[in-house]
């Protein structure tokens, strides 16, 4: 049975801030500027699933340009050098880090999946019977980035099919 989750926007925003400080903007010069627009576009996304005491997904989505910039920051390389594989790997790790920290705020007994990466818009993602319950939406150096949480309904037996 899934419990009511108590991870809200401010918790997600704090995790995002830590990720930026640690990897994407260690100098503190280009933070994620909130837009509060949950419908902002994306071109790529990654996700991790959480099962157990809470069932759902944590999704990181952004434009390709933002993903490229994230990979360049992670891998300490020039933007032009970033490959699709670099972007995919970085997106996966970003979802993993945020998802892991979300899991830590859930009741004991939650399991985190390995990350899934899709170099396609978040709108193409299919999370059966899941509903977005919170998110952080912003612009990073003029490019859209979002981190959202989707809660699955445990009542439907088709879930996860």
């Amino acid at each position: 049975m899934s419990v009511e989750v108590e991870v809200d926007e401010s918790d997600l925003a704090e995790m995002v801030e830590q990720v930026w400080e640690s990897y994407l903007d260690p100098e503190g010069v280009s933070p994620l500027i909130p837009t509060y627009d949950e419908n902002q576009p994306s071109e790529v996304h990654s996700s991790v699933s959480i099962t157990g005491s809470w069932n759902g997904h944590v999704v990181y989505a952004s434009s390709r340009a933002a993903a490229q910039r994230a990979a360049a920051a992670f891998l300490a390389m020039e933007l032009e050098e970033v490959s699709e594989e670099d972007m995919a790997d970085t997106l996966g790790e970003l979802a993993n880090i945020v998802g892991g920290n979300v899991k830590a705020m859930l009741p004991p007994g939650a399991q985190l999946s390995l990350p899934q990466v899709n170099l396609a818009p978040e709108a193409s993602a299919r999370f059966p019977n899941a509903q977005r319950i919170s998110g952080v939406y912003g612009m990073w150096e003029g490019e859209p980035v979002s981190i959202s949480m989707w809660q699955s309904s445990t009542d439907n037996k088709e879930e996860g099919a």
């Binding site: 640690s22 992670f74 300490a76 670099d86 996966g92 790790e93 892991g100 920290n101 899991k103 985190l112």
Partner: protein
């Protein structure tokens, strides 16, 4: 002087790169592995055991906790300093890792400074290496 060696074990290449950058800055020679099994295979072929291993928890094939347990059960590897570097941040998980034989625990995301501080506490940062 022979440089110290560090093994960086994470299924994310991006995270391996970050960790490799940090340990290289501290004058370690870095060896990478994508999971615990690959790390054990590499260790089996090494004549000299690395002084340090930075280990992710959630990995395919052999996870970080299993790796720590195997290393601790092998007398040849007992001198290795094991540091878990993971998103698993629940108290119970930290206790499990330390009980299995990890020396330190670093929660992702971490800053370079925080990681160096942890390694310094373990006596693995040569003076002036991080300047």
């Amino acid at each position: 002087m022979t440089p110290m060696r560090a093994m960086v074990i994470d299924d994310s290449r991006a995270m391996r790169m970050i960790l490799k950058r940090i340990v290289t800055k501290l004058n370690f020679e870095a060896v990478e592995a994508g999971d615990g099994k690959e790390a054990m295979d590499l260790l089996a072929d090494m004549t000299e055991v690395p002084e340090l291993a930075l280990i992710d928890w959630n990995m395919p094939n052999m996870n970080g906790l299993e790796f720590v347990t195997k290393v601790r059960a092998d007398p040849r590897l007992r001198e290795m300093t094991l540091v878990m570097v993971t998103t698993e941040s629940e108290q119970s998980q930290i206790v499990r890792a330390l009980a299995a034989g990890a020396h330190e625990y670093v929660i992702k995301p971490f800053t370079e400074g925080a990681m160096i501080e942890k390694l310094a506490l373990l006596g693995l940062v040569p003076t002036g290496a991080n300047s």
